[in-house]
Symmetry: C2
Subunit: 136 residues, 2 copies
């Protein structure tokens, strides 16, 4: 078992949202409000050519998650048997990374992206952006 | 700018693949060979109910990436203008996390998942698994 690491993740930005507490955050099967992704100015170059209309994958660090949880009832539904977190979308997991697919609706400045829907609370660290691949 | 962190990511497992060097690894628009994901035994509980046929999102740590790259030609195509890495799928980026969608084809043991296609080289650390959401 090759098991190197740990590795250090440095936030590249932060989510600004009207969602303030986790209990307000919808799960990923539900809708989500629009939000702003503020990227740290030192990463401005890495946003070159990002424009309104782009579909991006946003990775977040779910900083309020419990990293010691190994099993959970998916979507909090106790009628579903306990399931390993690797077979769920629970934020509670060993490395609490969230994945979100968004459309950029506007650039509010050189490092500020308005996006259409993001199910993450205000203050959630952003750790990566990628262009979304076309759905088949 | 709220910019906490850094955060520590601990590998949960490793990719076993016939792909040995990055130059052999296809990009994400191309095909990829099947592979095995070996999960560290201490995370076995987090795999509970994972079974053949499951579609999972695999997050990897692209340990050979250059974290200082900010712009690149997408897919190595110099006819495409230099583009910020946040608008590409380049492995070279500040936090080099790879995203892969796979189907589990078999369990080779309690912590060993055979998957249909994974464009990551042998020895790539795995940092998270999630159930894939249904495509709309």
């Amino acid at each position: 078992m090759d098991d190197r690491g740990p590795y250090m993740v440095q936030p590249i930005g932060v989510v600004r949202s009207a969602l303030r507490v986790p209990s307000e955050a919808p799960n990923q099967a539900e809708g989500a409000p629009d939000a702003v992704i503020e990227i740290a100015p030192r990463f401005a170059e890495a946003l070159h050519r990002v424009q309104a209309g782009d579909e991006l994958i946003v990775l977040t660090w779910l900083h309020l998650a419990d990293r010691d949880v190994r099993q959970t009832h998916p979507m909090g539904d106790t009628s579903i048997p306990l399931t390993g977190v690797f077979r769920t979308r629970s934020p509670d997991r060993p490395n609490p990374i969230g994945i979100h697919r968004v459309t950029v609706t506007a650039l509010d400045g050189p490092t500020s992206l308005r996006v259409d829907a993001l199910e993450a609370i205000d203050g959630t660290p952003v750790i990566d952006l990628k262009v979304a691949l076309r759905r088949p």
